[in-house]
Structures are given as structure tokens and as C-alpha cells.
């Protein structure tokens, strides 16, 4: 087991190194750089930017250095100081990539964790009940809801809910805080305000996940319920509830556990579309903007962290599964 984990970690380090290079090169691929985009923005806003300013901007952002110098500085600062560098977009505000992540990641993680709790809290009981009561009205109802949940893109759902909230109740359900709390430090009142806002995006983001989990858990559980070992256990007089949770549920939940590690990057990345539509300050829209604006250290750092988490998440998943399911071998 230990050997297995060590081997996986060694591969992981090499993989991450290649990821940094790929990420850096990919972000540089589009023509121009951040200064090009920034100058266009300034000019389109009617501001006076001349050739001389462009050179000054390049010096200011360190874009006058060669590509490999830029890569080297970025990597060195990450390894030596844990400094992910500066964000060009938010340079004016004096915010580094680390500051931005510190602002966004906790909120993103809160939303992701809450929606994961929502997904499992809703999906597991419903799926078990549906499987054990197959073709009952309850099962049909949740099948219908499940299909709607799967078929409706969550951003569309977000739009519909925003529209209903606005036109019927005259409230704007955008953002995570009321205006007076946006820049305020955390207090009980701010937490209260956060909880008042957060349930809508959590429900919307969680809905498709819930639907998916219900369907897959129900299907695997149905397969298990008619197995020999279940019949044997029942014939031995085991209580129905104990039987269910001790054997078939444990087997049926396997696919869910093996994908739990994939959650790790999604907890940080946040849901992009819903966040964009509902104006939720997660890292998703931040990454999208960074890519559009060629804000390379910000985009690169987020991508790097996400890749690292994906790789680590897969590792964790494997370890978790190995512990959960004694049938797994370590080769």
C-alpha cells in the first residue's frame, strides 16, 4: 500500500512539471498579450494610449522579458516563496494572485461543499427508496424530476429563477451578499446574509448532480437487490433495513466513492456558467476572465492548482476505494 502510494506520488510530480509547461505555453498561444488586450480596453473606453504607453505598460507588467525568463521567474517564485505572481487585471488594485484566490476560494469551496452535501443528502435517500420501491408513484415522481434535472442546463434554471424572483417578488437574486456586506469583514450579520443568499445557487448547482446521482445509484442498487447474496441474507432472517445498508448499498455506492476524488478540483473551480449568470464571486468566472484577458499568471496559477488537485484527487480516490473495497489490488 505504502509502496503503491509512493509510486503514484513520483509520477504525480513529473506530471505536474509537464502541466506547468503546457499551461504556460497554452496561455501564450493567442496572438498578443495582456498589454494588447488592456490597451484596447483603455482605448475603447476613450482613453488616450500611445505607442510610448504600450512600451511603458510592457515594462510595468514585466512583459518585456523573454518567455522563458517569465516562466522561470514564475516557477522560481512559486517554489521558493509560494508566490503565484501578480494578476495583470487586478494589478491596479494591488492584488496578487494569492490575494485573489484568498478572496475567492473560501466562497467557492463553501458553495461547492454545500452543494455536494445537498446532492448526497437528497440523492442517496431518494435513490435507495426509489430502488427498493421500484415503479411506485414515488419512484415515478423522482424519475421525472431526475430527467428534468438532467435535461435542464443549470444556467437556464438560474435565469428562470432569477426572472421569477424579479418579476413576481421584485427581488434580485444575484451575488452572495447584500450590497452593504460585500466589502465588510465577516460578522454574524454577514454570515446570516450569506446564508440567506447562498441556498439559491447551491440548489441550482446541486440539482443536476442530484438527478445524476439518483439515476446511477438507483440503477446499481437495482442490479444488486436481486443478487444471490441478498436472497441468502434475507432467508437467514436479517432485518430488511440492516440487510439493505450492510450489503447492496455498500456495493452500489462504490462508483460514487471512486469519483469523490474528482470533486476536489471542482470544489475550487466552482461552477462557471451559474456563477456568471448569478454573479457569484467564485473562481470560475475569475479563470474565464483571466483567460480572455490573457492574464497569464492568474490563469496559469488557477489552472496549475486545479491540475494539481485533479491529480491529487484521483490519488485520494484510489486510496479511498482501496480502503473501502477489499477486492482492489495494488499493481
Amino acid at each position: 500500500m505504502v509502496n503503491y502510494i509512493l509510486r503514484r506520488i513520483a509520477v504525480l510530480v513529473v506530471l505536474l512539471f509537464f502541466i506547468t509547461i503546457i499551461v504556460f505555453v497554452l496561455i501564450q498561444l493567442p496572438p498578443g498579450d495582456y498589454v494588447t488586450v488592456h490597451v484596447m480596453e483603455l482605448q475603447a473606453a476613450g482613453q488616450n494610449v500611445q505607442e510610448a504607453d504600450i512600451i511603458a505598460f510592457k515594462q510595468l507588467y514585466g512583459l518585456d522579458k523573454t518567455l522563458h525568463e517569465q516562466y522561470f521567474i514564475w516557477m522560481r517564485n512559486i517554489f521558493i516563496r509560494g508566490d503565484f505572481g501578480m494578476s495583470f487585471t487586478f494589478y491596479g488594485q494591488g492584488k496578487s494572485v494569492a490575494d485573489l484566490l484568498a478572496e475567492r476560494v473560501p466562497l467557492t469551496a463553501a458553495i461547492s461543499l454545500l452543494s455536494t452535501l445537498f446532492v448526497y443528502g437528497m440523492a442517496v435517500p431518494i435513490a435507495i427508496y426509489s430502488a427498493t420501491h421500484q415503479y411506485s408513484p414515488f419512484d415515478y415522481f423522482w424519475t421525472l424530476v431526475g430527467f428534468i434535472g438532467l435535461a435542464t442546463p443549470s444556467f437556464l434554471l438560474a435565469l428562470i429563477i432569477m426572472w421569477i424572483a424579479f418579476s413576481k417578488f421584485n427581488i434580485t437574486v444575484i451575488g452572495l451578499f447584500s450590497e452593504e456586506f460585500v466589502n465588510a469583514p465577516w460578522t454574524v450579520a454577514k454570515l446570516n446574509d450569506f446564508l440567506k443568499h447562498v441556498w439559491i445557487p447551491v440548489t441550482i448547482i446541486g440539482l443536476s448532480g442530484t438527478a445524476g446521482t439518483i439515476r446511477s445509484l438507483r440503477a446499481t442498487l437495482l442490479d444488486e437487490l436481486n443478487r444471490q447474496y441478498v436472497i441468502t441474507a434475507r432467508s437467514k432472517g436479517l432485518s430488511e433495513l440492516k440487510l439493505l445498508f450492510k450489503y447492496p448499498v455498500r456495493v452500489a455506492i462504490n462508483p460514487t466513492i471512486s469519483t469523490i476524488g474528482w470533486m476536489l478540483p471542482t470544489i475550487i473551480s466552482g461552477e462557471v456558467l451559474v456563477s456568471m449568470v448569478m454573479n457569484i464571486p467564485t473562481t470560475g468566472p475569475l479563470l474565464l476572465q483571466a483567460l480572455l484577458q490573457q492574464d497569464m499568471y492568474l490563469a496559469g496559477s488557477i489552472l496549475l492548482i486545479l491540475s494539481a488537485l485533479t491529480v491529487i484527487g484521483t490519488l485520494l480516490s484510489d486510496i479511498l476505494l482501496a480502503w473501502w473495497d477489499p477486492r482492489i489490488r495494488y499493481d
Binding site: P31, G32, T36, V37, M40, E41, Q43, A44, A45, G46, Q47, N48, V49, Q50, E51, A52, D53, I55, A56, Q59, L60, Y61, G62, I73, D83, M86, S87, T89, F90, Y91, G92, Q93, G94, K95, S96, L100, E103, R104, L159, M162, W163, F166, I171, T172, I174, G175, E179, V182, N183, S275, M276, V277, M278, N279, I280, P285, L286, Q289, L292, Q293
Partner: protein, 668 residues
């Protein structure tokens, strides 16, 4: 929200189709309803020739009289943490916002207090509207268009120009202070000039704006400090347009030398700066990056707060919102001697996208905002106006967003051959029914183009010109064939996500050109890709800006001469002029002529000569059909809280200027 907008767009398109498919355009009932919900008051054409002198109120403030101040400041003064108003304001403060002409509004006495909520979606910024509020140019011209007869001091108290247009003497306001209470003097001007403008690390080369007659090859300005409050800027050639520069958003801002000297190696040894340089993630010795960071006006105040001259200063910053608080040392007063601004705070929300800002505005959660009030959003904004306590004011726009520019130097030889025939461009112009553009894209709030007066709609003439020039053969689908015998296709490059005028205009243009047998494709692009395409000479026909009311007085916004933030109609000609013939391609005589006239226009101090040159430039552009205008005088709606006072009621006011004068606004 999206659904409603889509419906509206579908509806407008439908209305357009209906109105043009019927031979005699009968008034379509729905269209009328649409318009009625939008129209606020009938506009009147007011031509103002003389500047009426504003009548001061009988109890007006005169030098020597005491100042009024906001309660939040007088509390601080009483507590002893702030000096009294007499010590904070200059001896002669600026009275009112000088960019607002008296024909627009006579300001009323306002109340202090309140929060101004604003919204934008440009990441990393505090929003374009706040940018305009923040700006304090050296001098002001009343109204949006530069007019040398309507100038007044702003940051500078007054100025004199020698008749040859070479020497400009400025008198600063004695006793004027930075937002940290330090005095603003000629030392700040000297620092800006000697230690920043002439420092090659910070300013690699002096921008053309500070060279004689704005010529890239002209000699840089010279600065002479007369005393603590007087200085002279001189050029070796006449530079009459320098005042236009100073009266606009391009005006330099004095730099807080007492603050910035801490980060400049001429004043603070580099060794002392190194820890700070490293702390901010720069490489050793890169002091200019630290300097740039510290000089940024929108920075999170934190440890090093940069002093400003603006009406509000930054209190806190996150990626989602800026909170700004009144500058206790702001140098303007109202006519009664009360220090401006009236409103205590600005809360600028930076949202994820334009739709979120629109939703906020319709819910009445935006007190002042123009960015979300694009023409296509007007109907939905009007819908909730009364219910949610705001007003939509369709003021005038400082630019037209979607004029058509045909690329004359695209590398495709067939394209070049066709579009360089003037008959082709004339045909494109004649084929466009501009009244329909005005009705469909601008909901009727616009006029026919008059600056570049190409506004005749005559499809027969267009067909005739196209036939004459040899595009008379057509393929099986009825499209004209190019000189190579293949179908001639006009790709229009437009912007996907902008104010909405661009794709709508492109679609209408496509419809009109298809009607005369030309195949058109539309390519809606993301902004930076669009800009790269235009600048790389890869565009064909672009929809792009024309800042008519500000022409010709913005040096980077002159689409008529080939460059309006991006290269417009002949990128290679533009390059040729910019590089003195080293790059690009030799332009025709007329083009070189307008570039020469532009240099003279910026140079001459004589307003009559300036006018004459501008008339000639416009004539050459019009005669050559170098751009195809579609409309003029479009609206720039501003969403305002219904309780805000001191807003011009006349719709002849320019929205941008109204926003820039936010220090005058107050809650009734």
C-alpha cells in the same frame, strides 16, 4: 431577463422586416407602442451660439466668505481629527462643475449625505462610469466638444496662452490640497515632468501629446517653474490644440510628489526600496514597477494610500466592489460656498456580466449608471421605471458605436481591386436605408449622419454603380460575381458582446447590401480578437466607433483619418504615416493631405483656421467615401435614482459629462 431581451430583439427584427417588405410602409401598430414607451420628451433643436453667462444666486459665495461642509466632516472637525474647511479648501475654489454648460442646467442647492450605488462589469476596474467621475482635468470646456471660447479652470485656477500658441502659463489654486492634506504646488508639476515624463524607465519615450503639435517627431515640451503656484509649459512649434488635450480626459493629472518620492530612486536610495520591490513580487532593481504600482489610483488603500484630487477616494476594494468615500480636501464648492461632493459614498459594484448590471438597474439598485442602459435595453428599463424608483434619461451619446469602415488595404487582391473603386464604396453607401437603421437600432432616437453627410438612400443608383464598375454578372442565386468570376463576398466583422448596436447594424447593412446583389457574411467576434483582426489588416468591413461630437479634438479617436482606437479603413496607409514611410504602404495624395492638415489643425492657435482645416478634412473623407456613416446623435441613456437632484432635464446634455459631474448630484 434574457428571454425578455430576446423577445424584444426578435420583435424589433420582425418589425423591421414587416416595415420593409410592404411597399408602402404603413405604420406598424406594435412599433408605435414600442416607441411610445421609450420617448420621454420631444426633442427640440437648440442651436446655441452665444454662451449665456450664468446668473449667480443673490446669496452666492464670494472669496473670503466661510465654507459649508458635510456633517460627516464637521463631526471630524469638532473631534479635532480634521482641520476646518477654511484650511482644507483653496483660497479660490472651483465653483461648480465647469464641464456642464449653463444651457443644460442651473444647479440647485443640494443636501449632504447618502450613498451613490453604481454598477459595471469590467474586471479589475472600478467601472467606466466611476473613471469619468474620478477624472479632474487641468481645465474644462463647457459641453463635450472642445471650444476655445468656453474654457474655464478646473485643477488649474487660470491660464494664459501667448498668441503664437507656443507658451502656456498656468496659475494653480493657492491652498489646494491632496486628499491627505498635503499642499498641491508646482513641485508636483515639476516632479511629473522631470522625474516621470522625462524618466526613461517610467516613460520610455515622451508621448506625442507632449510634443509640439502632437507630431511624433516634434520636440518634447519644456517646463519652467515661476513660483510655488505658477508655471509655464512651452513648445518650440505652435501647439494650439494643447488646450484641447488639457480640457479632456487626456489631461495629465498632477502627481502627489510627496508620496511618490518614497518610491523613486532619485529621492529614496534603491537599497531602501529593494525590500518593498521584493515584497510585491518584482525582480531586484525593478523600481519602476513598484513606482507604477504605487502610482495606481484605484489601489486598495492598505499601507500606502495614494493621495488624489478626485471628489471621492477609495476606502476599500475587493474584486466585487469598490467603496469610495468623500475626499475631505476636494477643491470644488457649490455656488453657495458648500464643499462638494454632496453625496458621502460611492459603492461601485463590479458584476460578472452586463445582464447582472441590467437586472440591478431594473430593480432600482443602481443610482447612477450608463453602461447597462444601451439602446437595446431601453424598453426593458422603461418597463420598471416607475415601479422601482429610477428614471432613464436618454441623453446624447459622445460617439456612434457602429459605423462601417471598409478595409482598403486588405491583402486579398480581388478584394482590393473591388473596394478601391470608389463607385463600389458609393454603391455601399447608397444601398443603406439609414432611416431604417435609426428606427430599428436606435428606436428612432437618432438623426441622419451630418458630420460626414453620406445619407442618401438610393438602391437604383447603387445597382447602377455596381453594374458600371463591372460587377454586373451574377450567379444562379442572383449574387454579383467578382472580377475573378467567383461570387464576391463581403465579410462584416462585428462585435459579439458590446452595447448591442454593432451586430444589429451589421445585420441591417447585410440586408441592404444583399438587396443590391452583394453576398454578405457576418462574423461576430470577441473584443480582443476583433481588435487584433483590425490592427493586423485582416479585416474587411468593420462596424466601429465614430466619436462625432468629440472630433477632431481627440488624438486617438479619429476614425476619419484611419485610427479610432483600432485601425479603421486603411491599416497599411496608417502604418505608413506613423512610421514615416518605413512600414505599410504608400497612401494616395488625399490621405497624406488629411494627415498633414491634422498636424496643422493641432498646431495652429487660430480657431478660424482650425475650423477651415476640419471642414476640408471632412470634405475629403466624404468625397472618397472612406467611411460609411449610418446615423448620428444617438442616445446615451443614464439610469438615475428618481430622487437625485441637479440632473439636466434637457436631453441635449451628453450622458458622459452628466456622469463626470457627479459631485453636483444630491438626494432630494
Amino acid at each position: 431577463m434574457k428571454a425578455l431581451r430576446t423577445m424584444l430583439i426578435a420583435f424589433i427584427v420582425l418589425a423591421t422586416v414587416t416595415s420593409c417588405s410592404s411597399p408602402t410602409p404603413t405604420p406598424v401598430v406594435e412599433v408605435q407602442i414600442q416607441k411610445e414607451t421609450v420617448v420621454i420628451t420631444e426633442k427640440e433643436e437648440v442651436v446655441v451660439e452665444v454662451t449665456p453667462t450664468p446668473v449667480p444666486p443673490p446669496d452666492a459665495w464670494k472669496p473670503g466668505m466661510p465654507f459649508g461642509e458635510a456633517p460627516m466632516l464637521s463631526n471630524l472637525v469638532e473631534a479635532g481629527s480634521l482641520p476646518p474647511a477654511e484650511e482644507r479648501l483653496p483660497k479660490i475654489p472651483c465653483v461648480g462643475a465647469k464641464n456642464i454648460p449653463s444651457e443644460w442646467i442651473t444647479p440647485e442647492l443640494g443636501n449632504y449625505g447618502g450613498i451613490l450605488r453604481m454598477a459595471d462589469w469590467l474586471p479589475g476596474s472600478w467601472g467606466l462610469d466611476v473613471t469619468w467621475i474620478y477624472m479632474e482635468p487641468w481645465i474644462h470646456t463647457a459641453g463635450i466638444k472642445f471650444d476655445s471660447s468656453k474654457l474655464a479652470g478646473n485643477v488649474m485656477e487660470s491660464f494664459e496662452v501667448t498668441p503664437d500658441g507656443k507658451d502656456f502659463t498656468f496659475h494653480m489654486r493657492e491652498g489646494m490640497k491632496w486628499s491627505d492634506g498635503e499642499p498641491l504646488t508646482t513641485e508636483d508639476i515639476r516632479f511629473w515632468y522631470e522625474d516621470v515624463l522625462l524618466n526613461e524607465r517610467i516613460t520610455p519615450s515622451v508621448p506625442a501629446a507632449y510634443r509640439s503639435a502632437q507630431s511624433p517627431t516634434g520636440n518634447p515640451m519644456k517646463l519652467e517653474i515661476v513660483d510655488e503656484y505658477t508655471f509655464t509649459i512651452s513648445f518650440d512649434e505652435p501647439y494650439g490644440g494643447f488646450l484641447a488635450l488639457l480640457a479632456s480626459d487626456q489631461s495629465p493629472t498632477p502627481l502627489p510628489s510627496h508620496f511618490l518620492k518614497q518610491f523613486h530612486p532619485d529621492y529614496t536610495p534603491l537599497e531602501k526600496l529593494e525590500p518593498l520591490i521584493a515584497e510585491n513580487g518584482f525582480e531586484p532593481g525593478e523600481w519602476w514597477r513598484l513606482f507604477g504600482l504605487m502610482n495606481n489610483t484605484i489601489r486598495d488603500p492598505g499601507k500606502y494610500s495614494r493621495p488624489n484630487l478626485s471628489p471621492w477616494i477609495v476606502e476599500s476594494v475587493t474584486t466585487q466592489a469598490f467603496k469610495l468615500v468623500r475626499n475631505p480636501y476636494y477643491f470644488k464648492i457649490d455656488a453657495w460656498g458648500n464643499q462638494l461632493p454632496y453625496i458621502d459614498y460611492i459603492e461601485a459594484n463590479i458584476l460578472g456580466n452586463a445582464e447582472a448590471a441590467l437586472l440591478k438597474a431594473t430593480a432600482g439598485e443602481v443610482d447612477l449608471g450608463a453602461r447597462m442602459a444601451s439602446t437595446s435595453n431601453l424598453p426593458v428599463l422603461k418597463l420598471y421605471e416607475e415601479k422601482n424608483g429610477y428614471r432613464v434619461m436618454p441623453y446624447k451619446m459622445h460617439a456612434l458605436l457602429a459605423e462601417l469602415y471598409v478595409n482598403l488595404t486588405n491583402s486579398d487582391p480581388i478584394w482590393r481591386q473591388v473596394v478601391n473603386d470608389i463607385r463600389f464604396r458609393q454603391a455601399l453607401s447608397y444601398a443603406i436605408d439609414r432611416q431604417q437603421v435609426i428606427d430599428a437600432v436606435y428606436l428612432g432616437f437618432a438623426q441622419l449622419p451630418s458630420t460626414i453627410p453620406l445619407n442618401e438612400y438610393n438602391p437604383d443608383k447603387a445597382n447602377q454603380l455596381l453594374d458600371e464598375m463591372g460587377l454586373d454578372k451574377r450567379d444562379a442565386d442572383g449574387y454579383r460575381l467578382g472580377p475573378d468570376g467567383k461570387r464576391f463576398v463581403i465579410p462584416i466583422e462585428t462585435l459579439a458582446v458590446e452595447m448591442g448596436d454593432e451586430p444589429a447594424t451589421a445585420e441591417l447593412a447585410a440586408k441592404f447590401w444583399e438587396a443590391v446583389g452583394l453576398k454578405v457574411t457576418i462574423n461576430a467576434m470577441e473584443r480582443s480578437l476583433f481588435g487584433n483582426t483590425a490592427n493586423a489588416n485582416e479585416s474587411h468591413v468593420i462596424t466601429w466607433r465614430a466619436h462625432y461630437p468629440r472630433w477632431p479634438w481627440v488624438s486617438t479617436l479619429k476614425g476619419y483619418a484611419g485610427f479610432e482606437a483600432y485601425k479603421t479603413y486603411a491599416p497599411l496607409w496608417w502604418d505608413w504615416i506613423q512610421t514615416n514611410g518605413a512600414e505599410g504602404e504608400q497612401p494616395p495624395e488625399e490621405y497624406i493631405e488629411i494627415q498633414d492638415m491634422l498636424v496643422e489643425l493641432w498646431g495652429t492657435p487660430d480657431p478660424a483656421r482650425q475650423q477651415e482645416l476640419w471642414t476640408n478634412i471632412k470634405k475629403i473623407v466624404t468625397d472618397n467615401v472612406w467611411m460609411i456613416p449610418t446615423a448620428e446623435g444617438t442616445p446615451y441613456a443614464v439610469v438615475v435614482n428618481a430622487n437625485l437632484g441637479n440632473l439636466p432635464e434637457t436631453l441635449d446634455a451628453y450622458g458622459l459629462e452628466v456622469i463626470a459631474a457627479a459631485e453636483m448630484l444630491y438626494y432630494k
